[in-house]
Subunit: 497 residues, 4 copies
Amino acid sequence: MRKVYSLQIQYPEQTREFNSRLTKTGRRSLSHSISQSSTDSNSSGDSDAENLEDEVSPRDRLQINFKGNKDFCVKNIKLADYGRQEIELAEDEMTALMALRKSAQGEKPLAGAKIVGCTHVTAQTAVLLETLMVLGAQCRWAACNIYSTQDEVAAALAEQDFPVFAWKGESEDDFWSCIDHCVNVEGWEPNMILDDGGDMTHWIYKKYPHLFKKVKGIVEESITGIHRLHHLSKAGKLCVPAINVNDSVTKQKFDNLYCCRESILDSLKRTADVMFGGKQVAICGYGEVGKGCSAALKAMGSVVYVTEIDPICALQACMDGLRLAKLGDVVSQVDIVITCTGNKNVVLREHMDLMKNGCVVCNMGRSNTEIDVTSLRTPELAWQHVRAQVDHIIWPDGKRVVLLAEGRVLNLSSSTVPIYVLSITATTQALALIELFNAPEGRYKQDVYLLPKKLDEYVASLHLQTFDAHLTELTDDQAKYMGLNKYGPFKPSFYRY
Amino acid sequence: MRKVYSLQIQYPEQTREFNSRLTKTGRRSLSHSISQSSTDSNSSGDSDAENLEDEVSPRDRLQINFKGNKDFCVKNIKLADYGRQEIELAEDEMTALMALRKSAQGEKPLAGAKIVGCTHVTAQTAVLLETLMVLGAQCRWAACNIYSTQDEVAAALAEQDFPVFAWKGESEDDFWSCIDHCVNVEGWEPNMILDDGGDMTHWIYKKYPHLFKKVKGIVEESITGIHRLHHLSKAGKLCVPAINVNDSVTKQKFDNLYCCRESILDSLKRTADVMFGGKQVAICGYGEVGKGCSAALKAMGSVVYVTEIDPICALQACMDGLRLAKLGDVVSQVDIVITCTGNKNVVLREHMDLMKNGCVVCNMGRSNTEIDVTSLRTPELAWQHVRAQVDHIIWPDGKRVVLLAEGRVLNLSSSTVPIYVLSITATTQALALIELFNAPEGRYKQDVYLLPKKLDEYVASLHLQTFDAHLTELTDDQAKYMGLNKYGPFKPSFYRY
Amino acid sequence: MRKVYSLQIQYPEQTREFNSRLTKTGRRSLSHSISQSSTDSNSSGDSDAENLEDEVSPRDRLQINFKGNKDFCVKNIKLADYGRQEIELAEDEMTALMALRKSAQGEKPLAGAKIVGCTHVTAQTAVLLETLMVLGAQCRWAACNIYSTQDEVAAALAEQDFPVFAWKGESEDDFWSCIDHCVNVEGWEPNMILDDGGDMTHWIYKKYPHLFKKVKGIVEESITGIHRLHHLSKAGKLCVPAINVNDSVTKQKFDNLYCCRESILDSLKRTADVMFGGKQVAICGYGEVGKGCSAALKAMGSVVYVTEIDPICALQACMDGLRLAKLGDVVSQVDIVITCTGNKNVVLREHMDLMKNGCVVCNMGRSNTEIDVTSLRTPELAWQHVRAQVDHIIWPDGKRVVLLAEGRVLNLSSSTVPIYVLSITATTQALALIELFNAPEGRYKQDVYLLPKKLDEYVASLHLQTFDAHLTELTDDQAKYMGLNKYGPFKPSFYRY
Amino acid sequence: MRKVYSLQIQYPEQTREFNSRLTKTGRRSLSHSISQSSTDSNSSGDSDAENLEDEVSPRDRLQINFKGNKDFCVKNIKLADYGRQEIELAEDEMTALMALRKSAQGEKPLAGAKIVGCTHVTAQTAVLLETLMVLGAQCRWAACNIYSTQDEVAAALAEQDFPVFAWKGESEDDFWSCIDHCVNVEGWEPNMILDDGGDMTHWIYKKYPHLFKKVKGIVEESITGIHRLHHLSKAGKLCVPAINVNDSVTKQKFDNLYCCRESILDSLKRTADVMFGGKQVAICGYGEVGKGCSAALKAMGSVVYVTEIDPICALQACMDGLRLAKLGDVVSQVDIVITCTGNKNVVLREHMDLMKNGCVVCNMGRSNTEIDVTSLRTPELAWQHVRAQVDHIIWPDGKRVVLLAEGRVLNLSSSTVPIYVLSITATTQALALIELFNAPEGRYKQDVYLLPKKLDEYVASLHLQTFDAHLTELTDDQAKYMGLNKYGPFKPSFYRY
């Protein structure tokens, strides 16, 4: 999810669409809502809804909002009040996006934009969607994941005449039908796409090629979606400029370095309940995620060993006071092994055979390939499910290895994504849409772009306010001396931060 | 010296050459030798030399080495033994460069290379020069700085028939004469340039344009030299590919982040002799240098405030637990102010008027522009020179502000550059020469290039050995999964480390 | 719970016994079991037991173990197998206590000891109890808390003929009856007491004064119990030596500094779900708990302010790089306020009136006095219960203050106590019992003692093994030079660690 | 010097007096002045004095100050102006002591005190001496070290009619003569002693036993002096109460933990000029000094191994994330070895035989016993003196071990003591004198006492002001709840901070 170099991963066309919906279940950007408000709220708010109307699919029920509008499809429009409350709480916390909404609402930079979107439908994304509307856009929306929709939030959006087609527990057929409802409207043609996974983009590309050609720009959030865009681009079939918002500096640092610095501790405590002080830990990979995990565990009094393939990252580990080793050389002495490589087969059965009793193994990297869990499903090893996310694998001699989340990404399931991170993502998406929609002819060609540095800087500046942080402004004289525009961008493209 | 964006600085052509020699006096890459072995050694080793032969300029004396060769010009060939000892000590410490020498000496990748060089002439560069020879190159060398030559090292090189033209205390005329001696040789035409400051390059460009056209490549070390190359390039006059070794990842991280993390403490202790614990410190600028200084002082128990103009760096400061403020808002409460911006007029008289008694002010950035020292040279303020590098500026009410190094870059004068950093520089230079000399037609055009990432990684891997650090190697299967070559490069060009 | 100076707290006799049982509900030493194994296991293991036998009190049911013994009173003897499994898992983790068991089982240092105990009855204490038996003691046991007993563990003990009288959900009458069952036995008189809260001690003191006089020693775990012993001692009524195991160095450091360093992060994440990076935090009190909390939050990128009344601790905060302030001066700018003082009325309504929207307030100190929660129960403030342990207090202007655990000690309810800490406690208790039981006449008078330093050191050495840590041993010559016994104690009593 | 347990060291009576003067040359409390102002000033200020009057001993020259007084003996009274300037600079920096002077000058708590003192005579102690006078005392003073006197400061004191008998470069005979001049005065009998090393105390005890009996109290600074007092006490010959100011909390933490955290880095840079990042370091001993050194090096990116004999300190090292090992097991892999044990023969020849090329060895502990330097003085090893404080020991195979300060305490010679630490010492001494002089009959018996905690707290509070730190005050209600006096002391005697 976070490795830049994975842009080059082989990703066979035919399996992609099928997988994307399934694997997206665990995508990080939704986990905040799932583990917090959504579950809580559903269990209370949904209760009668579920009882009364669960048997009938939302597709087969006609619902009308208070204003008489019926251009939406949600679980239960009656949940709108409760959803509105959730959205208002989220507005409170997403101060940067709200500041953007406020500052640009006069200008209406998205007037004329007709955006079709396919993202998680949660309180946080609702704040984004309503911001897009305030800035002048018309929108139609579907969920990018069949499980992640907060039904009360969808209802609240629908109540405000926002055409949303999403509910928790869609079937595969529902999923594509909802997407199609966004695009296939008489007298309305989308000119912008906001996508998270590439399903909306590909649906239009395949089913409505005449519409695809008219689109002004695509903003894509996920690594999977970016792969698919690069694929199209290489095949010469991308006729639209796209912005990859995933690799913006601000998002990357927060999603990976800063967020993992906190979530590794949180995830390990909630699952394995270990004490960190004095523990020996092997961290495989010293990219942003590995750096975050190492910093946190070192600070908590663990002794950290790092494995790396890249000598530059390896040298950074050394200068940060960590021992660089091969996994095989330290695996028999460590108490915890954490993978953060984005690669596959990093922790093998031969490593786990060497682990000491009680050693904890988990994955903070990408997907579920890093630990060879398959090798543990053999007759001589017993599996004991101890708690949610925790299995003991028991060797014939009684040795137990503690496997977390069955080798899937740990902090997706065992921690929450801070609102702050979600806010950075949403603000970045909004700015990318504005940029693509308003860019003068010729600024963007039919290719996949990174977020312009100036916008990256703007996202950061909006989020500084939370910290009561005060930026310094260049004087004219200083700007001239540095050869910079006074208002940025402040760094060359290759600057490493 | 270290700001990437300073590539765009206005640098009027006519003042450049004059300044470059003067300001280079304080260049960092020489300070290790100056403050350590060189001074010590000169005071002992030079003693009779100075007495006997100081009056006569080396240019006017004929010296012959043991083998009867006289194609060199040094202070005193008799110092050779002592210099050889220094070189051998340096070889001991520059294990990465020696490893490169050893691994490539069979292959002789520089066979046919005729390199003219202009760098500091110290024990560490001698190890580089002799490495170039072992790898097959013919070389002729001058000093890039009129003060930095270690005379005994130059003698030792000359004794080995290495044509070196350099001594400590050259006049301006000597300086250009030495450079000319490198180029202007009958029957020998240079085809590579290794430069530190651009003087050799410009001498050939101006005086020997026919030779300049035949050069295969230029390796330039300094920011000043890189400016000059960009200037040529923009003017369409750069007919040779050049590699900017200054901005390689490895060099940048060591020169700035890791080196400053240590040298800020060292420099402050040696000059102001402050206790760090409990002190409040304002650090202006949160680039690599500011990050290094902040990390060190925070670790020593100081309370650190950061000022920044770039919101992304500012957000990093926040996430690192530092308060982001404007200088004016905290200057009256802090005990130490450190500039690391590369900009000018960052600390103004109005700030210093607000400082409390005993506040220490210093510059870890670039050149001497960051603190407005000129504003302190007014009649109402008294200057008291307390120690080397330490002045007390006394306000009419008795308040003292402690100014270090008169506002010039502090760690140039008050700390030493670790051998490790010099070793990274030298190894990078050697690899850049090999790359340019052996690159197939068409790989490099007439432009200024960054060091190819694969070589950057190679430099790092050579230096890992010192730390007893063990890299992991990708399996074929993993490399395929990641879409990577097994031996690197491992990251896309925009990776931020 | 952890403040040494609270030894001097006024604690009116008449309210003590009543309170002690109620407040002990939240005592830390049980929270590991409660939040982890116990709850999980009960929900599975207890299920039929609860259905079948929940209506009848264990006191009114006759149960017989497999060996035909009925000298016990537990919820359901059939849970024994499940409990044994829990105990075995705990044995695996409490390596230090098991090492003690193994090394002393030959010697049987507790042969002849008749111990009555009143502690939590959990898997971890079961390992202690069975260790005492292996070392030769006879024991009878009750629970010190009406809610904390793991019924399956009690069953497993009973199955092994260990006379235990404890179940989850005792009434107050049950509670005293169980205690009485331990003491009031024909033909058996206790000579040692292991207590946690002082209830067993006081029961014997009041009800069986003739037995009290024959007791050889008391080991008391809790601060409350130690207060009560000091009370007796001052009144001249303590006719038995007692050891205060709470204030041993090893226990204190682990219970407070090291444990809180981890549990503050864990507790805040699980409840308030805040991101720590960039947050401003006020920590009231810089004792061991405050030091642990500060270190953790500083490491996670928070800006920490400390309040203190003691200038020495205050100076430590300064030297650790924290700003020392009065709460009133920073409360309007911070994002989180944490109390760690052991005092009362530290955070007042006037402070909370100044807090900004979203400020989180919590207590890591002792009892529930630190935050003036009562002042928040007024008509103009609305309380919104958001999640377990989380209430939003809403001011008339809409400002929300996030109150955690209603002001009670946060990590009691929202985190777990690492096994490692429980192991240190149990090992310390065992050693204190051995020491008191075997001490030569006259070593201990009728007073309350700290654990002898040599035993403190021994506990530490037993726990070092987990970390694969290797101690150095003094040579005879070195021991002589230092004036030390080769095997300790190594420090004078006033050494501060 | 700093180990508490060294109280029990065997210290044969007959060698003590002879040694004390010699070894005290390197005592830390003087090194600030030596390495900074003193050397600088002497080289300038002393120049003509030395030329003119160096041949004649001050004892043989009659000098008269401006007021006509001649009751003093200094090198050159003419240096008084220069010395006054130095004292004034010191006053500026010793704000806590000056605050004490100011607050107590009205009360004159030392009125009637007749103090004889024997300490270093530097600008900082001059601020103390003049404070004692302002507080009402009469004083007579000698130097405790034959090399450490700042002659210009002594002159400045003499010029103000302060009877001082001290100069730089005293002979042994001079030394005792000066001490005798303080005591042996007609019509004046001392009633208080301020001592640093015990020489004044023993001189009076032996030569003027009748005076000794009349003394009200002794304040002793050094560990050596405290040994001697304990010796007297054990022998039943101490007829005077004494306060050991060395072991006060504030002084200990600053002298050892906080000061060494900074001086280890400073000392290593100035001597061995190593880069810390990535280095492996063995630190022998994890007391306050070892804790300070470890914290600093870990923060700078070193990998730290700790050796310990005390399991409690060992466990602390583990929880701080350091690997605990035996020296023999890691010595062949580390780059730096630092001793901090206070013991002898910690680093043996057998360890040094195993070290790798370039390994740095140094001592931050006590005296020169920790590294077995004698074992290196054998024919097969060559010594090469590289720089001040740096020797290379060369093994037959060419391996070099870098020995710093010939194994003597490193930061005594290669770093400076911050003024802040000197200020804490001086303030503590003044308060101890006031306490002993004013204590009601019976508070102190004929024994050696630690500084009362309340005074320790007062010293801390005076020093907080430098940090703009704001203490919180207990309310009456809170004080009552805690059972504390509102103004301290705040902790029981065994509190560990």
